[in-house]
Symmetry: D2
Subunit: 139 residues, 4 copies
C-alpha cells in the first residue's frame, strides 16, 4: 500500500456528502480492505424500524470502493461499475460494520467481496454479503 | 391492484426514516410499477459531486420493493432478498427518478427490474439498471 | 450495424465448442439484439428432468455477448465481465430461446439485458431474466 | 451433515444429464461445501479456445446447489433462485474446480459463495467468483 493511501482514502471519504449525511465513518484502512461504521439512527430506517437496505448497500459499496482504491496509483480514481448484495437478516443493533475486501485487482477491473455485520452488544451478526465490480480510471 | 394499495404504499414509504432523510418522495403507484423521485442535494454526493451510488441504489431498491407490494394481499409484507445494480453514467442534474417494475410475481418470490434516470433540464438519461429479488412474508 | 457483423457473429458462434456440444444455434442477429435457440435434449437436464440452469445461463450469456459485439468495430473483441440471472420457472418444453439485448454500449463497458423463454407448443414462457456486463478489448 | 447426504448428493448429480454431457464429476462433499471438477475438452470452449463462461457457470451453480443441499432434510429439495458470477481470468489448463460454500442457510433461503479455480500444472488460479441464492422446497 502506498504510504499516503490511508490519507487519500480518508480525504475522499470526507468529501462524500452522503457518508456524512448518513453518519458513517471509516474504521480502518489497510491494503485490500476498508471497514466503514454506521451507527443506528431513526434517519436510517425502513418501515419496520431496521436499517434500510439502501443504507446497508451505501456503506458496503463505499467500503468496497475504497478497498479497491488501496491498490491504485496516486493518479488513478475508482468508479463502481456494479454490485450485487444479499440481505438475509434484519440490520439492527448499535450499528453496522461494512467490510470491503479486494478479491482480484486487475489492470482495468477490480472485484471486491462485501460483508456487512450488525453489532448488537457482544453479538456480531452477518446481515448482508455482496460482490462488486469496479473500474480504474485516470484522474 | 387492490383499492387501498396506493394508500398502503404511501403510508409505508412515509414510515421509512431513510427516504425522508434523503429527501425522496413517491411520484406514482400503479399495479406492478412504482416511481420514486430524489432531488439532488449536497447531502447525497460522492467524492466527485455526483449522486452517490448508495443513494441511487436506495431509491431503486425502494421503488422495486413497493412495485412488488402492489401485487400482494393486505396481510402480506415484502422483504428485499437481494439486488444487483449497474451504474453506467454519472448521476447528476436536478434529481433521479427510480422506476421499479415487476417482471414476475410468484407465490413466494417476486422479481423486479429497476431503472434509474437522471433528469437534467429536458434530458432524461438512464444512469443505472438493476434486477431485484423479493420475498412475500405474512405480516 | 456494420455490414459484416452478422457474418462475424455466426462465425464466432460456430467456433464455440460448447454451443455445438449443447446443440444451440443462432436464430437471429440484429443491431443490439441476438437470439439463441437451444432444443431440449436429455443431455441438458438437471436432476428433475428440466433444462439445467447451467445450460440456460450458457445460452443467455452467449446471446448477450454477441448482442454487445454487434456494436463493436471489426478489430474489437468482447469478453463477459459478469452476469446475474434469476431462474423463476422450470425450463421445459421443446426448447429455450435466449435473447440478449444491449441496454447501454459504452466506450469500455457494455450492459445487456437477458431474457430466456421456454417454448412449449403455442406457449412462450419467460423462465429466466438476467443482466450482464461486458468489456470491449482490442483483438 | 446427515449420514446419507453424500450419497444423496452423488445420486442427484448422477441424474443430471448436463453434468455427464459436460464431463463433470464431484470431487468432494462435506457439510456446507461441495467441489465439482470439470476437465478441459474441445466441447467446452468459447471462440478463443478457453472454457466457456457457460460451462464455468454450470459447474459453479451445481457446486453451490449441492452445498446448500447438505444442510437440508431428506424430504427437502433445492432450487437455484439466482446467481451472479464474475469471470476475471481465462479459464484454461487441465480443468476447472468449482467450490460451492454455504454462507447462510436460512429456513427458506440459502446463500452460497462460489469460487472457480483453473488448474494448470502446479498452478491454481482463481478465475471466477460468484454469489448464489437458493430456495428450500418440500419434495
Amino acid at each position: 500500500m502506498h504510504g499516503e493511501i490511508e490519507t487519500r482514502v480518508r480525504a475522499s471519504f470526507a468529501a462524500q456528502g452522503l457518508m456524512a449525511h448518513l453518519g458513517a465513518s471509516i474504521l480502518s484502512v489497510e491494503e485490500n480492505k476498508v471497514v466503514v461504521w454506521l451507527p443506528t439512527r431513526p434517519e436510517l430506517t425502513q418501515q419496520h424500524g431496521y436499517i434500510h437496505a439502501g443504507a446497508t448497500s451505501a456503506i458496503a459499496d463505499t467500503a468496497g470502493g475504497y478497498a479497491a482504491l488501496t491498490r491504485f496509483e496516486p493518479d488513478e480514481e475508482v468508479l463502481a461499475v456494479e454490485f450485487k448484495i444479499n440481505m438475509h437478516a434484519p440490520a439492527k443493533g448499535e450499528g453496522l460494520e461494512a467490510i470491503g475486501t479486494v478479491i482480484r485487482s486487475g489492470r482495468t477491473l477490480t472485484i471486491c467481496h462485501l460483508d456487512v455485520f450488525a453489532i448488537e452488544g457482544a453479538a456480531r451478526t452477518l446481515v448482508a454479503v455482496g460482490q462488486q465490480t469496479l473500474i480504474r480510471v485516470k484522474a
